[in-house]
């Protein structure tokens, strides 16, 4: 509690804006209020699911929050439509990328195209969750269309679709 830093409360807004721009057309503009609102929603969503996963770990007297705990928490909180594609995604991710997280972090820092990826790691509270989230970003530059479609359909598409009603209502007063 005392160690909570100021910059750990929210996800970095540059990465949030990039995710928002990925789904919008090239000429679209995003207001500052929309950026801050999505930043708060994303940060709260991560804390919401992570707290549920952490509660399960404390109940079972474990210290490491795993990907299975995160998926279990999403199902328990009613996000079934997200948990099922993510479980398939996690299965394929582990099948194709067998490297441990430390080796992936080392390889990521070497290449300049993955400069932004290590910065998302300090913000993720559970280590394994950052492993999963890191993989989601990793698949975007790859040339494999199959995994790109899978990642976009399960990750950004479904996630952004749930926020669309609020964004529309937010933009009406403008």
């Amino acid at each position: 509690m005392a160690g909570v830093r100021e910059q750990d409360q929210y996800m970095p807004i540059a990465n949030v804006i990039r995710i928002m721009r990925r789904i919008l057309p090239a000429h679209a503009k995003i207001s500052d209020d929309a950026k801050e609102t999505i930043q708060e929603c994303v940060s709260e969503y991560i804390s919401f699911i992570t707290a549920e996963a952490n509660e399960r770990c404390q109940r079972e007297q474990r210290k490491t929050v795993t990907a299975e705990d995160v998926l279990w928490a999403m199902e328990k909180l009613g996000f079934d439509n997200y948990a099922h594609p993510l479980s398939l995604y996690l299965h394929r991710y582990r099948k194709t990328e067998g490297e441990p997280a430390s080796a992936r972090r080392a390889s990521a820092s070497a290449s300049p195209s993955m400069q932004m990826h290590p910065r998302t790691h300090p913000h993720s509270h559970p280590p394994n969750y950052s492993h999963h989230g890191f993989g989601m970003f990793d698949f975007d530059p790859s040339s494999q269309g199959f995994y790109r479609d899978d990642a976009s359909s399960s990750g950004s598409g479904g996630f952004v679709a749930s926020f669309d009603p609020y964004a529309n209502i937010k933009r009406d007063p403008l």
Binding site: E6, Q9, A14, T37, E55, L77, G78, P122, S162
Partner: protein, 297 residues
């Protein structure tokens, strides 16, 4: 005062399992649906008995607060609250039309509350259900001081909630004009998140006003850099070199690598969006289309 006392006595005497007789037939219909949904949910739940009792006590306390808030507005609104208390669970409010959603957003006084059990087979309802808790969180984010006061009032004797509730009504008016119905699966998690955010607010109060940048020196450096048309920084190669140099300096001199990287993200994000666009183009492996971008300051 008399109305509040009557409501309190009615609330405490509502331990009987008999269904509550409502004056309006539409409320009776919703009550029946609430009962049916609560029975089905209780059958599907796999929580242990002891934590369930703790959760029930929490539910009772928070319902008591909402009862105080809603009873001072009108008598009609108290009926769904009493029904909710009897059923022991929060019903899921689902609107199938956009006009209903807009009306809910406009905080209009709806005469009929439609609630039904959300089936998992429907592909459309879950996004809307996900939308509702997010709104609840945003509301709770701004109403944390009010809830902290109400939480303190809940544990005090009976006379004090009556005295403190009217003082805190204006804060709740923005979001608690009518009770916010959330997914029953997320109810306990939302309450836990509210308590955690209250603790976080008590500890880190200066965070409320978000800073545009973390490090003054980096902010000054970004201001001094040359900018081209549309506010972008000039010289992409030097930009990439400057990306690597601060990281190296941080690794060689200080141990707080995370702090510097976080600072770089936040400071550059607020100074110019063009930089983010350039980074995005670099990540995609090439800027095929040059598009004009305006800076939001």
């Amino acid at each position: 005062m008399n109305c509040l006392c009557e409501k309190d006595s009615g609330l405490f005497s509502s331990h009987s399992t008999a269904p509550y007789v409502l004056g309006c037939p539409s409320w009776a219909t919703s009550e029946f649906e609430v009962q049916r949904s609560s029975m089905s949910r209780s059958l599907s739940s796999k929580v242990d008995v002891l934590p369930q009792q703790c959760h029930n006590s929490k539910t009772f306390n928070f319902q008591f607060q909402e009862q105080d808030a809603s009873s001072t507005k009108s008598t009609d609104q108290s009926y769904p609250e009493v029904g909710t208390v009897q059923s022991g669970q929060i019903s899921v409010q689902h609107s199938s039309t956009d006009s209903t959603l807009i009306r809910n957003e406009g905080k209009s006084m709806g005469c009929v509350i439609r609630s039904f059990m959300g089936s998992q087979d429907f592909p459309f309802p879950p996004p809307l259900l996900d939308h509702r808790p997010i709104l609840a969180h945003i509301a709770c984010h701004y109403a944390d001081p009010c809830y902290s006061g109400l939480v303190a009032a809940a544990y005090s004797p009976q006379s004090k909630p009556v005295e403190t509730a009217p003082v805190r009504i204006p804060l709740q008016l923005d979001f608690a004009e009518e009770p916010i119905y959330v997914n029953s699966k997320q109810y306990h998690a939302i309450l836990r998140r509210r308590q955690y955010r209250a603790k976080l607010e008590a500890l880190n109060k200066p965070i409320k006003d978000r800073k545009p940048y973390l490090h003054e020196s980096r902010h000054q450096h970004a201001l001094k850099r040359a900018r081209g048309a549309g506010g972008r920084f000039l010289n992409t190669k030097k930009q990439l070199q400057s990306n690597h140099t601060p990281g190296n300096i941080a690794e060689s001199k200080m141990h707080h690598i995370e702090n510097y990287r976080d600072g770089a993200d936040v400071s550059y994000a607020f100074n110019s969006d063009a930089r983010n666009m350039q980074n995005d183009a670099a990540d995609k492996g090439g800027g095929t289309t040059q598009q004009p971008l305006f800076v939001y300051m």
